[in-house]
Symmetry: D2
Subunit: 342 residues, 4 copies
Amino acid sequence: MIVVMKKGASEQDIQGAIASIQEQGFRPNLSRGEERTIIGVIGDDRKVADAGMFETLPGVAECVRVLKPYKLASRDFHPQDTVVKVGQGPGAVEVGARRVVVMAGPCAVESLEQVKAVAEAAKKAGAAMLRGGAFKPRTSPYSFQGLGEEGLKILAKGREATGLPVVTEVMTTEAVPLVEAWADCLQIGARNMQNYNLLQACGKARKPVMLKRGLSGTIEELLMGAEYILDSGNPNVILCERGIRTYEKATRNTLDLSAVPVLKELSHLPVVVDPSHGTGKRSLVEPMALAAVAAGADGLLIEVHPDPQRALSDGPQSLTPAMFAELMPRLQAVARAVGRWV
Amino acid sequence: MIVVMKKGASEQDIQGAIASIQEQGFRPNLSRGEERTIIGVIGDDRKVADAGMFETLPGVAECVRVLKPYKLASRDFHPQDTVVKVGQGPGAVEVGARRVVVMAGPCAVESLEQVKAVAEAAKKAGAAMLRGGAFKPRTSPYSFQGLGEEGLKILAKGREATGLPVVTEVMTTEAVPLVEAWADCLQIGARNMQNYNLLQACGKARKPVMLKRGLSGTIEELLMGAEYILDSGNPNVILCERGIRTYEKATRNTLDLSAVPVLKELSHLPVVVDPSHGTGKRSLVEPMALAAVAAGADGLLIEVHPDPQRALSDGPQSLTPAMFAELMPRLQAVARAVGRWV
Amino acid sequence: MIVVMKKGASEQDIQGAIASIQEQGFRPNLSRGEERTIIGVIGDDRKVADAGMFETLPGVAECVRVLKPYKLASRDFHPQDTVVKVGQGPGAVEVGARRVVVMAGPCAVESLEQVKAVAEAAKKAGAAMLRGGAFKPRTSPYSFQGLGEEGLKILAKGREATGLPVVTEVMTTEAVPLVEAWADCLQIGARNMQNYNLLQACGKARKPVMLKRGLSGTIEELLMGAEYILDSGNPNVILCERGIRTYEKATRNTLDLSAVPVLKELSHLPVVVDPSHGTGKRSLVEPMALAAVAAGADGLLIEVHPDPQRALSDGPQSLTPAMFAELMPRLQAVARAVGRWV
Amino acid sequence: MIVVMKKGASEQDIQGAIASIQEQGFRPNLSRGEERTIIGVIGDDRKVADAGMFETLPGVAECVRVLKPYKLASRDFHPQDTVVKVGQGPGAVEVGARRVVVMAGPCAVESLEQVKAVAEAAKKAGAAMLRGGAFKPRTSPYSFQGLGEEGLKILAKGREATGLPVVTEVMTTEAVPLVEAWADCLQIGARNMQNYNLLQACGKARKPVMLKRGLSGTIEELLMGAEYILDSGNPNVILCERGIRTYEKATRNTLDLSAVPVLKELSHLPVVVDPSHGTGKRSLVEPMALAAVAAGADGLLIEVHPDPQRALSDGPQSLTPAMFAELMPRLQAVARAVGRWV
């Protein structure tokens, strides 16, 4: 951390800041500039309660963090890429390896027929995993809230029928054991990226966790969310970019694809992209899925529904199975162009 | 809802959209413009699974909602102001009445001495409620996470000593009964504005709930969060503006004071403002507290700490008891100027 | 500036950075931390071509600026408040003194009758200046673009009739002499906050300049805009907060009132607020005008139109003269409460 | 346009709104819903002074636009893709055809040696156009402001040496003839997207115009900017996505690649992407350039500098000629994968 003194800070202020830095167990490094004096704070400032703690001292203009606040999620401390294995047996997939893992399925699980139809079509077209929501976070209390445990069982039947490992969202700490029992990967949704109790509960689970970036989550906050899970004991974390909230309303969210290479630089964890939520519009899913692969994504989450117009959730952004089947060879072509495959 | 057809949509597309609208139980109203045909969807579209559901139909350009998605939180259905009573006995306060309710206290409960010192100073200066966090949502797993139940007990002792009702955050559904037992008002923090299970659990509590706007929560989403609580049976909801996330980094958040009159127009619920989190900087708390009162806020949440430099959380934005004592008469003057009092 | 080396940067990288810092005419201050080495760059880094220039060096993680990039606009170099005198003779007003200067008038000048009606009503209600647009920046080429020079003459007649000094927008460098000839204060609109040629042309004018914050202008960029004007020779700059662009769409813009005290801390220049553009909605103008005064604004820009429904621009946010007359005593009450007057 | 009446609007309010709609030359279409009455406004509402004009009427809740405000830029009125030809003779290129046009060069023109070195390297690696700034909009008045006319001449020499057509920024209406004389394509920078006088002046030029999206420009505003140019008589407009301003600070801007397919749907104009400004960081240029091509971009703007560390502008985001040469075959591979070439 660096403590920047105000222009004209008195010698007493400077000595006070130095004393305060020492009191907190750090070593100060004083540097007097032409206009400003700055004091380097040497030591692991991740232990500091608050980045701005020294800002309340007299004569201090601001505190600037130098160290990243995360450690376990950081590439600095774990240079090699993490590959997360999802599922068991022959259908198991590795996220973060050369294969770009396509996870397809409906936004919400509605019925066994629906899930089986989508799972089989997705498998046939080349998908590697099955996605679908049994517990649904909905903006309105009057919207369909998901089938709950029944939905989890249906997803498991989809896996039985196709061999595809299942990823599904968990919304509460109480439901973690249940979701862990039925699914192969626990998804933490965007609205829960900073639900720290849920992060810790998933950190104690033995299945991998896919953590979605919050609607206004910064890249650093996403990595701090991962840090909570890693620090609770679960090393198998997949990060997911799914669009952020901006002033632009032509799309449901603004898909921040630059987050893919940025996360790859800062962290060793695999990164997948959700172009369905990221755009909210069916016609944009294909171009953004192709772009995500070109940008280096390790996987894709794509919503597929047999009858989008009658979907109970997110119909406008769902592909039909036929559209998904057309997308896959195009994804393959781009994946090959960047030295990977789907 | 209004369904806008694409320029050049065929007659078959138009008839298809009409049939689909009728199939969902609505009445269509067709209007052919010079360039575009639009179809009014008559009926309560809050029941529609998704605002964009008709957007997947051939020839449809977009769907536009006309009705607000909330009903219980809406002033349309409840024209008179709601006044929420917090606490019992002589110290009970009414939020949403003529008195501007000032809630003061430390960000995090650290010790009995700390809470008593602040509570007594706040009471003496004219505060009406005591605030403080026992469960703390922290960005870093390495930061102080709060004293938990012990913190709740300390807050209760602060109330005993001063008569001030207590508001404190609850972060999990499991903790709702515990917090309800010790506190007078349950606070749902910004990160949990869309934690629907928590909203529903607080909706079943018998104590009032203060719901903070999410970091990137829209005003409509805040009201939908309130709708969840109201729909679960709890009519005593207080809304709180606490700053939103924008591109501007000179302040920790951008305090959106226009949310106060906007919420007052759209809803009957009381609205309070948190200038401490809203700005993140001690020197900005006073001007924004005064501005909030001038804009029509029903209350203020102000962080006060006896020794901000050693605070375990949010020191840079905390006032000292002396600064708080100086603020109160200034708040009183502005409150009087707009026909209220603190 | 501080150069932060990557974890694991080699000694050669560190020496290379030091050499590069020296080559640019700065003095390095080396500080070796436990995880990171940082190098203070001593000297006036405002001369550095680009804040990030050292980031391209091998082993460098990032560069952090310590000095503010503006100097003439900074309170550090000009501690006392600047008071800007607008107009001549008995009607002249001081912006930045104890009086809160209310500038009222139509968005666009439409006719002599309109301007005279508004100017007289505004004067009677207590306004101190007349505002109105002769050159109008409109999003659509098909919208009314203003009366141009004719509009300037009409405004001058409004001044003649009432004695109120006139502020009006200038959009091009060519029009600066014309606007300067007819008006008392040149307004640079939000869309031109970073039109550097226009800033420099206004910097050479002899009339004061009111610089509006851009739609997504940071506080620092606003002050850099002021720096351009000041550096071109014009010391009379008034800053104007008029709402920023955020994800929230309940209001036209998000009025960032915290910008008022932030600008007052960082700069010596007066700060006014435009609640009309800041909210875009007539019913929000009064609460936000009151809040702006409570937050410390030195003035207000308020749109008033005799017949808002027939206004050629911004009708929905314009007050009628009757509404304006009701607002003024309320503003007076809040101004008195914070030790000022309107 | 649709006028939505408030819940409980009186019959008199409804008749008043109808009368007002008719007075403005439109035909009303009344639709009485269960909770709300809505009135369709039939006719070309692009002529309406302000979208919200009817919002000031008694009983009106809101106005919703149905027609897009642009016409000449709209695909509705011009279904086939526009291909813009830039340059003359054998080096002329078509933007918007199957070839993805790569425009490479330094941020700022610094010397003939610099431009020649870059132009020759870029040409050799396969670039189709030369970019470079002679007039530089700089945040600070103390930064290098460009070589002006001298810079234009240097760029022309770069063209002579390589045959690459030149695109360069024009910042003022006065400079349009000069830039038009020396360059092949006029660039309007992000800060000038809503500088309407400049748009009109470029609309009267005979060279093509590349219009960059503003820092907080919406897609609709970008198209309205294009509409200004088209309406002034110049049909050759290229749109450019270059990153928008969001809360995320890990990148200089947030490159909104979904803007590419969205613009392609709404408009017939070609769309290019600037990953250098869009990310601000050299290591992110390659992944985002590849992603842009996968998303359907018609071209790329890439900053290349022979010695980025000594660049007078934007060094941190500039590639070296060697890095650019490595990028080109990777771009070629992705372009081939989506049926195009570079």
